[in-house]
């Protein structure tokens, strides 16, 4: 190989190496003190922030006090619609809301009733032990012991992309939740939280 070709090859290899990005070292993230960069789509911090705002609003509402006997109200989870281009597991939002409400002592969640069946079928399944002579019947759940929900939680997550001047884009994610009194069918609380981003228009989020 002539010398000038060797030089060219060497130069090509060197320029390729220069173009290669610095490897990013894997690091642990303390989610209670998370300062990692954000992207155009939603991450766990956004769900936590939305849930936090919703719970705060719920607990501030005079219409969502505990029952007169001091017992917490019982909430069932209804339909939460994902109207974004993201693949979202709505439990990221709901689990935080359920936990915070439960810890507040005002509202608890029924896992025995759900729009598409109970989220935990064991409560009903365990009642079949009434037929079994193998179990001490005093330890088996009796009839009429389940608490029916008096509140239903429904809502949607909406995503809107807007192209901005200069090739930028804006993403707005709106979380809307409604608590309905099952007895009357009237919405007793409605909340909305918005998470917005502005970034490079070439970024695709899904």
């Amino acid at each position: 190989m002539p010398a000038y070709q060797r030089l060219l090859t060497l130069g090509f290899v060197v320029s390729l190496a220069a173009c290669a990005a610095e490897p990013i070292a894997t690091q642990r993230v303390d989610t209670r003190n998370d300062r990692t960069p954000v992207g155009m789509s939603l991450d766990s911090r956004d769900f936590q922030e939305a849930a936090q705002g919703m719970v705060r609003s719920m607990l501030q509402s005079d219409r969502l006090q505990a029952r007169p006997d001091g017992q917490p109200r019982v909430m069932a989870i209804s339909r939460i619609t994902n109207d974004t281009t993201l693949r979202i597991n709505t439990n990221e939002l709901l689990q935080t809301i359920r936990r915070e409400l439960s810890n507040s002592g005002r509202i608890v969640t029924s896992t025995a009733v759900g729009l598409e069946g109970p989220s935990d079928p064991m409560a009903m399944q365990a009642r079949q032990l009434r037929q079994s002579g193998e179990f001490d019947q005093r330890t088996v759940a009796g009839r009429g012991q389940m608490a029916a929900p008096d509140l239903s939680l429904s809502g949607q997550i909406i995503g809107r992309r807007t192209a901005l001047d200069g090739g930028a884009q804006r993403m707005d994610y709106t979380f809307q939740l409604t608590l309905t009194n099952i007895r009357t069918g009237i919405a007793v609380w409605e909340g909305e939280e918005r998470i917005s981003r502005v970034g490079d228009g070439r970024t695709v989020s899904w």
Partner: protein, 125 residues
């Protein structure tokens, strides 16, 4: 040239001196030097909500000509001083608008919260 520079420096110093920075005397509010150098922070007002939970309210003043990205984290402590595990303790982001006063408030997640520690820092630090 020197006179112009001196005048500029004097004006800058005057601006800094006029900054209404009030370091909170309450040890429950932790303000980082970056925030303290840009915003005025009032002492916290602590009250009880109708259901008995604690509420903390304080004001931050931004005399600057630019918005300030503020990161607020409020930890809630039980009677033994242990931090409660709650979404209410996660950091929140607020953009404190230029030339305005912004009211920050935080509600305790439950009656178990007996005390708090609020930290104000710059977002993206």
């Amino acid at each position: 040239m020197k006179k112009v520079l001196l005048a500029g420096a004097a004006m800058l110093q005057a601006c800094t001196a006029a900054l209404p920075v009030v370091p909170p005397s309450d040890p429950r509010v932790v303000v980082t030097p970056t925030v303290l150098g840009s915003l005025g922070v009032s002492a916290p007002s602590v009250s009880r909500l109708a259901d008995g939970r604690m509420r903390v309210v304080l004001n931050v003043q931004n005399p600057q000509a630019t918005d300030f990205p503020l990161r607020i984290q409020t930890e809630w402590l039980d009677a033994s001083g242990a931090a409660l595990s709650t979404a209410a303790a996660l950091p929140q982001f607020r953009s404190v608008a230029r030339g305005t006063v912004t009211t920050l408030d935080a509600d305790a997640p439950s009656l178990r919260a007996q005390d708090f520690r609020m930290t104000l820092d710059v977002e993206g630090n």
